[in-house]
């Protein structure tokens, strides 16, 4: 896991910066892709809930650094969403084509749902506008997850091959 941590730290930081400084200028249908969420969800699908949760924690902390909301909220919501998605994937028939899109949308919905539960407890008000945006966001996430999945799938394969070669030596 140490090796993937070295990848997760700069990758999640880069994605959080992009999400904060770049994507808002290129919103699609009024929403922006949540790449940090998708990356954590995909890594959980590929490497299991434990590694996915670690990546989600790192990504969530970077999101929290840029957010006006309570610190730790993104991290907590993303960890729970990633674990839940990985467990759901565990119970479903394997598919490399449809499943990532479905789980990407599900993971995003869970990420927002956890925050919907937690935020009022911290005294924050929530607008219902995001509920109207959720179907659009879910569709966008379901589409954007495809390239994210294939990039991370290739990375995962390379890491596993490297590990096998190292063991062989």
């Amino acid at each position: 896991m140490t090796g993937t941590l070295l990848i997760a730290l700069p990758l999640m930081l880069l994605l959080a910066v992009l999400q904060t400084a770049v994507w808002p200028y290129f919103a699609i249908w009024g929403v922006e892709p949540q790449l940090v969420v998708l990356t954590a969800v995909v890594w959980g699908m590929l490497r299991g809930p434990e590694e996915g949760a670690v990546w989600a924690l790192i990504g969530g902390i970077f999101l929290d650094l840029f957010s006006v909301g309570p610190f730790g909220l993104n991290a907590l919501a993303l960890v729970i969403a990633t674990i839940a998605t990985a467990l759901v994937q565990h119970a479903l028939p394997t598919s490399r084509f449809i499943l990532p899109s479905v789980l990407g949308a599900l993971g995003t919905a869970l990420f927002l749902l956890v925050q919907f539960v937690l935020l009022p407890l911290s005294g924050w008000s929530l607008g219902l506008g995001v509920v109207r945006m959720l179907p659009t966001l879910a569709v966008l996430q379901g589409v954007v997850i495809v390239p994210v999945y294939w990039v991370l799938y290739t990375l995962d394969k390379r890491l596993r091959n490297t590990a096998v070669v190292s063991e062989g030596l």
Binding site: E50, F66, S67, F71, V79, L87, H90, G127, G129, R132
Partner: protein, 296 residues
């Protein structure tokens, strides 16, 4: 085929959830403030570096893409200039009247200047549930929590978290934002609440007898504040433009009415804002902190 985990280490998952929950609790109790003030600056610098090219590309994409479109745009702008010149003439007359009134009340001499700090917008809240901005001015530049943030088109929000060289601003459109306001025509008071993502702002608690019409300007009232060093100080200066009334909802069954408020600020394209670091206080005299009163 997707890889399926052989055995799930529930203890490891519980530890990770506990770490995230711990951070959430520590921040809610204010125990992370000092640490975060220094951690946020380096990442804000990265955001600053990344936002400049993104803004340039976005502006280029928004620009007219062909000659016909540009010509039409020039004609449209020329018509706007002519209309503005006519309006400007009216304003000049009003300005003359205002000067007379200001001299009469000796207003200009008595009103201290509002001090502002110009800041660049270097990022936006990555979480769709929050409406926030990151600016490149912080504690070292005199920015403090609670200071109002405005732009040439109207009120933008309020400083919510301050780091050494950057700050996070909660926009007036966030569902958690509430600002004491008044209508420019009837001077009726109310409270402007943000609607959150995709929802309009609303001015609530307007008395039913108040005359509210579509197009009325909504301004900050300067009322409602907080106790600082035993004195009541207002959070916002009086008279900042929040927006215009776009719709009015009233029912005879209610004792209050609500107006939908539309801001002239394009929050998605903001590049520069002003942090108001000092302003003339609205007279909230007579209000004393009950906690300061000596006991019997």
């Amino acid at each position: 085929m997707l890889n399926k985990p052989d055995g799930i280490r529930w203890v490891a998952l519980a530890v990770i959830i506990a770490i995230a929950f711990g951070l959430y609790v520590l921040d809610s109790t204010g125990n992370l403030d000092t640490l975060l003030r220094f951690l946020r600056d380096p990442v804000a610098t990265l955001s600053d570096v990344a936002s400049d090219p993104a803004q340039s590309v976005s502006s280029a994409l928004d620009a007219p893409r062909n000659l016909a479109e540009a010509t039409a745009r020039i004609a449209e702008l020329e018509a706007q200039v002519a209309e503005l010149e006519r309006a400007n003439q009216g304003y000049r007359e009003l300005e003359g009247e205002y000067e007379i009134l200001a001299n009469l009340f000796d207003y200009a001499r008595e009103t201290p200047l509002t001090s502002r700090v110009l800041a660049d917008v270097i990022g936006r809240d990555p979480n769709p549930l929050f409406q926030g901005l990151i600016i490149n001015k912080g504690f070292a530049d005199g920015v403090r929590i609670g200071m109002p943030v405005d732009s040439e088109r109207g009120l933008v929000g309020q400083v919510f978290r301050v780091n050494e060289r950057s700050a996070l601003v909660l926009l007036i459109t966030d569902a958690s934002s509430s600002i004491p306001a008044r209508l420019s025509e009837s001077r009726s008071p109310g409270l402007v609440h943000g609607g959150g993502l995709g929802n309009p702002m609303s001015m609530d608690w307007i008395p039913l007898e108040a005359e509210v019409t579509v197009g009325d300007t909504v301004l900050t009232s300067g009322l409602i504040g907080e106790f600082v060093a035993g004195a009541m100080v207002s959070r916002f200066p009086s008279g900042l433009i929040i927006g215009r009334v776009a719709n009015v909802r009233r029912s005879d069954a209610d004792i209050l009415q609500t107006a939908e408020v539309q801001s002239a600020v394009d929050f998605g394209k903001l590049e520069k804002v002003f942090v108001i670091t000092g302003f003339p206080q609205t007279d909230l005299g007579g209000l004393e902190n009950p906690l300061d009163e000596p006991g019997p």
